[in-house]
Symmetry: none
Subunit: 135 residues, 4 copies
């Protein structure tokens, strides 16, 4: 049985991400996918980069399809690394930080969140705050 | 100056669509794009068809890129019609009902909404209720 | 919770499809996807059309993403129909017969099967025999 | 005359890969293509990463289209290398280990196998065990 994220959970994740972004003075795109990588909720904050829409969704999908933070894959996909250019698979993966798995108690994965719109450090921090909304 | 939909407006549109769907006992995918056709907000209600995620987004884009209801294009894209098979353009258009332009007072277009998850009549009705949230 | 098809079930479905194809003297492509539309098992019988590989997978995905037989969508996607040209969505849908939902007791959907390689009547019959393996 | 892999051979390859994966306690995606790079058989073991479905198929295609192990291409596609970024061709190639040519006696190439779901070392080892089923 694959646990399914429900809309209330997805909204809490997005809202927590928006709140954190506002605290940091950032304009983010925030995407939530289910455990199968399908989009569940998406929000583009005002003034967020248009180019980050697709990146936030791909970050969420990338994290959800492999059950790891996007940055973990990026550490392995560099030139000379074991997963070099894995990004061309699955219709396009984004492997730099900003995508995190969403887990509920007992560590069950119910989906993933992807954030894009600032530095990768900020993207990661907002994603972490968003994911923490499920704890 | 292209009028821009702001997040609060997009959320009101989505929320009105969800409310109408719940009243009708339907499980919908609801997408909002800005006047440039770029995704602004998206919500998949619990138990909505996975295949309707993409359709709701494409309905919103189709309406937003041409500034008409999706069904108006579908009337012209039939075999023998003046826009026959226009659906293959723009990375895929959806031209049956469920996509509507979002306007504010004075009739200014600020984006579009796309709804998918039931019959095209229900999709259209939910889209109309969603769009009315801006009036 | 989304019920998940396990490999033994997927193999039983494929094997039942191959057996039925052999009885009918046909060379088929048979694809099984999970409830999220992701490929679980695939088999191309010897001498089956190469062009039917993708069609069988798309039939399975189409049925799985909308929880209906592919032919039900095709009946609605004809010129003048309410879902005209829905096929351009979701990276390409196949809406003629040969894709069927896979259900277990209590009617729970655990995935879908797609068959391609002969007439749509034969494709459907083989898909039905394949799906019956779960009963 | 292009030698053709038959279904019995493809199944033996997949089964040998599944057996080896089980011995190693791994959950793999295993794909077999013919000498033309077209999918012949595919199996996703339970709990295997969804993101590895496409990677296993692309590894098999990559190996089959160039008649070499995927890792041999990866050695040449690094920055400054002679095949830099070849991965964007052919709808997406995967050039890290886990894809191997399938040969029968006399060294005739009849297809290729691609494995994805663990480290590239494990992916390669399972692919080697799978390919050995034809010897």
């Amino acid at each position: 049985m694959m646990p399914e994220i429900v809309l209330e959970q997805a909204r809490n994740v997005v809202d927590a991400g928006v709140k954190k972004s506002e605290e940091l003075g950032l304009c983010m795109n925030i995407a939530v996918v289910d455990a199968g990588g399908h989009l569940k909720a998406f929000t583009r904050m005002d003034d967020a980069w248009l180019g980050s829409i697709d990146i936030s969704i791909k970050k969420a999908r990338t994290s959800g399809l492999f059950n790891v933070p996007t940055g973990d894959i990026g550490a392995l996909s560099q030139p000379g690394g074991p997963l070099y250019n894995i990004e061309v698979s699955n219709g396009g993966l984004i492997t730099f930080p900003g995508g995190l798995v969403l887990t509920v108690e007992k560590g069950e994965v119910i989906g993933a969140v992807g954030v894009s719109g600032s530095t990768v450090e900020n993207d990661h921090d907002v994603a972490a705050a968003a994911a923490a909304a499920l704890a």
